[in-house]
């Protein structure tokens, strides 16, 4: 009747997206947004969302032509072997850098906010060990784990946000446009790659039980992520005001350090495990994606075996930067800028190539049969 062979359903799909992209609100991505937009940063998720609708739409259109091909295969098919290889290579490089930089940021968060004296390599090692273990279990299990914990993670986030709103001051959101309405649109558009993970989701397209879920899941997740990010950005401002928040390294963690519930004054350690679980799942998924891409680059079938190597490489690259909080922040910002045009243009190119090659007609012909 019902069978699941390494495939995921819509629930798991959405859970993965929310955990991978939604977790960004807890790291220094928020600071990148605050830096230019100050107290209007909460609007930028909507702008970013608006900018990413078209690329995602085109991507879904292209992906839906093919039944059992992932993004890398589609790129190879549409761009030909040479350009395809080149594009996939760039994609892989971007993903791998994102993985390295993000995991370094998370390690930095853990070591500055919670474990000051523990050597960074131990924290990093454990983070990657667990993530690689998870990634090795495959997409089905990443999805299952994501789905089984997402409720609790989001509940804890919701609790934190409600407490923040209660203790915050709504007047801090004014002047409403921060550095100016135009500024908000401009700066947000440059950071559209905040949603670049949606591009990479094409890689797990063949693993979906139902192909329609890809479309539906992507849109639902995009809506959830945008609201969630926007609310959090507003909440942090309401607590710290726009000046204070720019001085902070990790607003989310400062927030959970500040809020309190009744007699419990220091509750950040209640939120810490939930955040950690989300991070583990996030990096497990990143590692998995990196392995898929690498596998399809060099046509390695059992790409799961690459995971320990990739994870180790990430750890050793990630601990290189000295004074991680700032170096990595800079790196991350530049990475965001570099990724943005690719994220916006690539789906368009794919769509155009498909159109030229007449793939859409084939699809229609198939459908009418």
């Amino acid at each position: 009747m019902e069978d699941s062979k390494g495939k995921i359903g819509i629930k798991e799909f959405i859970a993965i997206i929310i955990l991978t992209i939604g977790t960004k609100l807890t790291d220094d991505t928020t600071v990148i947004l605050y830096k230019q937009m100050e107290n209007a940063a909460w609007m930028s998720p909507f702008v970013i969302c608006a900018f990413s609708i078209l690329p995602i739409f085109l991507l879904i259109k292209v992906m839906n032509i093919y039944e059992n091909k992932n993004l890398a295969d589609v790129i190879n098919q549409l761009f030909g072997r040479f350009f395809g290889f080149f594009t996939v290579m760039i994609l892989w490089f971007l993903l791998f850098s994102a993985l390295t930089i993000d995991s370094a940021v998370y390690t930095d968060i853990i070591s500055t906010m919670y474990f000051e004296k523990t050597p960074v390599i131990m924290i990093y090692g454990l983070l990657m060990l667990v993530s690689a273990f998870g990634a090795k279990k495959g997409i089905e299990h990443i999805g299952s784990v994501a789905w089984s914990v997402i409720f609790w993670i989001k509940l804890s986030l919701l609790a934190a946000l409600i407490l923040t709103f209660m203790q915050g001051e709504i007047l801090f959101l004014f002047p409403i446009f921060g550095n100016g309405a135009w500024e908000v649109v401009k700066e947000s558009s440059l950071r559209t790659s905040l949603n670049a993970e949606f591009l990479y989701l094409g890689l797990i397209f063949p693993y979906l039980k139902n192909k329609k879920d890809y479309k539906k899941g992507t849109w639902i997740a995009l809506a959830i992520i945008t609201t969630e990010l926007s609310f959090s950005l507003a909440a942090f401002i309401m607590l710290f005001d726009h000046k204070g928040i720019q001085l902070m390294d990790f607003p989310f963690h400062e927030t959970i350090r500040y809020i309190e519930i009744g007699f419990l004054e220091n509750i950040e350690t209640f939120f810490f495990p939930f955040w950690l679980i989300a991070s583990f799942i996030r990096f497990a998924f990143y590692l998995y994606l990196t392995a898929i891409l690498f596998g399809s680059l060099f046509s390695i079938r059992n790409f799961e075996h690459l995971l320990p190597i990739i994870a180790t490489l990430v750890v050793f690259l990630g601990i290189i930067p000295e004074n991680p909080t700032f170096t990595i922040f800079k790196l991350r910002e530049s990475l965001l800028f570099i990724t943005t045009p690719i994220f916006i243009i690539l789906p368009f190119l794919l769509w155009a190539a498909a159109k030229l090659k007449g793939e859409f007609k084939n699809e229609k012909a198939k459908a009418s049969d």
Binding site: M1, E2, S4, I8, G9, K11, E12, I110, Y114, F115, T118, I123, L126, L127, L129, V130, F133, G134, K137, G138, E140, H141, I142, G143, S144, V145, W147, S148, V149, F263, L264, E265, N266, I267, E268, T269, F270, F272, P273, L276, I277, F280, I281, A284
Partner: protein
């Protein structure tokens, strides 16, 4: 070193038997033979096989059948046969008969009668407690069903106690166990298949399922696994469980072991397969998911709210058992800021004179509690309660007064201990108690970070294990159509689906 390796490499080619075993080829040959028409000859063989007269309870009753005027011999093992039944309904009718033309089948007034043609079948029947009638000139023998094994009567369930609902439990007799299930499911589609699973003892296994519900693939899988066992004897289901499970080293059980016929029947009705055996006051249900270990039958007997209340309590209890000690270790060593100030100072004050680090203190107490628990289990009933009191109260109190542990540790560990009893399934109970130590260690080394890492890795593991092809956390994830009976159950009128993951032939219950 190298020499050893070389030697090993060469010796592995030759098959040599390291044990000095006596060959019983001859005996096997005799057993394979057909029953001989010469009664005298057959009896000599059988007397030899059964070591008559050393073997005291094997009886050879020789007599002449009235009417037929033929010698006959009835072999039975008196301790496992109903002698009275044999005497009244088999021997007497045969003796008193004087009609020269009659068939044996019509004279024997017993319930079930079958014929056997081979010596080995005759032996099998005798060992099962039946009597076998050999008649001069016949190349077959009659097996008279008269087995009468000694055993307990049906009694109350000891381990899975409920306040509301049936109190019966399985006993060591498979026949009465099957009867208990049939009593609940009066359906001609309820099949009780039997299979012999061991070579020497010939233990018999009963596979119980409903024909038009149970998934064929699953059934074949189980049958294949059971028949491929290559062992001399499997005494009971507890041993069989370990033979047929997939992950023998896994912490988590993958087959449910229950002593309640009502529970077993409920599973059968959902399309699961139940195994029964003689000598086992219980049944095996497969496939099993995490939830089947978490649930007890009373959850459904209690009204909706009460049942879910106990479910909620049990879930919390599992969390307390798993995490209370490790949270204590994590907090006192790494995250002191999260405790309310007064409690922080109180813990600090009581720990002032304790000589051990918190983690050692906790492990010490956990160990002591484990000892008391295991000890209390083996103590003869009359002094059992005393041990409990001495262990828990006096020991804890004295340890605190002697400044070996702090009072808060006693509370934490005792709470975890008590909470662990809410999980009534013994396998899951062990699993949770062992996992607790992983958490304590990880908390000791890395605080909440370590605990979360272990938890996440554990979660990845638990979603990836399967019991007979069924994911462990289904139907929660991956999702299947089902009645959604996971942490909380739903109203009975809403529980209309059989669990999709066992792939029953009929999904809807209504």
């Amino acid at each position: 070193m190298l020499g050893d390796l070389l030697k090993k490499a060469f010796s592995s080619n030759k098959k040599s038997n390291p044990f000095h075993e006596k060959s019983n080829k001859e005996e096997i040959q005799i057993k394979e033979q057909k029953i001989h028409s010469d009664l005298e000859y057959s009896m000599t063989i059988f007397k030899e096989i059964y070591s008559f007269p050393d073997n005291k309870d094997v009886k050879f009753r020789t007599f002449q059948i009235g009417g037929l005027k033929k010698q006959a011999c009835l072999i039975s093992i008196s301790t496992i046969t109903d002698i009275k039944l044999l005497d009244e309904y088999a021997i007497q009718p045969l003796l008193r008969n004087d009609n020269p033309s009659f068939s044996i089948e019509n004279v024997l007034a017993v319930q079930a009668l079958s014929t056997v043609e081979y010596n080995k079948d005759a032996i099998y029947e005798i060992n099962k407690g039946n009597a076998v009638l050999f008649i001069e000139g016949y190349t077959k023998a009659y097996s008279i069903t008269a087995a009468n094994f000694q055993g307990r009567d049906v009694s109350n369930a000891d381990n899975e106690i409920v306040l509301k609902g049936p109190k019966e439990a399985f006993t060591e007799k498979a026949a009465s166990n099957i009867s208990l299930i049939r009593k609940r499911i009066r359906d001609e589609n309820l099949i009780v298949e039997s299979a012999v699973i061991s070579k020497r003892t010939k233990n018999e296994l009963f596979i119980v399922y409903i024909k038009d519900l149970a998934n064929k693939q699953l059934l074949d899988n189980i049958k294949k696994r059971v028949s491929s066992l290559n062992v001399d004897s499997v005494q009971n289901l507890a041993l069989l469980e370990q033979h047929i499970e997939e992950r023998k080293l896994s912490l988590f059980p993958s087959i449910l072991y229950t002593e309640r016929p009502d529970r077993a029947s409920a599973f059968i009705e959902d399309g699961y397969i139940v195994l029964l055996m003689d000598n086992s006051p219980d049944s095996l249900v497969l496939p099993a998911t995490f939830w089947s270990f978490f649930h007890i039958s009373e959850d459904h007997y209690l009204r909706y709210i009460y049942g879910n209340f106990t479910r909620g309590l049990r879930m919390i209890a599992i969390f307390i058992t798993l995490f209370s000690s490790s949270i204590y270790v994590g907090i006192t060593n790494y995250h002191t800021e999260m405790i309310p100030p007064d409690l922080l100072l109180a813990i600090s004050a009581t720990r002032e004179k304790v000589p051990f680090p918190a983690i050692i203190e906790v492990i010490l107490m956990e160990f002591a509690f484990g000892l008391i628990r295991e000890g209390g289990l083996r103590v003869p009933t009359p002094i059992g309660p005393t041990i409990g009191i001495v262990g828990a109260l006096i020991l804890g109190q004295a340890a605190v007064q002697a400044n070996i542990v702090s009072p808060i540790v006693v509370i934490v560990v005792a709470l975890a201990g008590v909470c662990s009893f809410l999980v009534s399934d013994i396998s899951m109970n062990f699993a949770i108690r062992i996992i607790r130590f992983f958490f304590i260690l990880s908390a000791g080394f890395f605080g909440f970070y370590g605990m979360t890492a272990v938890f996440t890795a554990g979660l990845f593991y638990i979603v990836s294990i399967k019991s007979f092809g069924v994911p462990y956390l289904s139907p929660m994830t991956p999702k299947y159509t089902s009645s959604k009976d996971t942490v909380f159950r739903r109203l009975l009128k809403n529980e209309i689906f059989r669990p999709g993951y066992v792939k029953p032939k009929d999904m809807k219950k209504t």
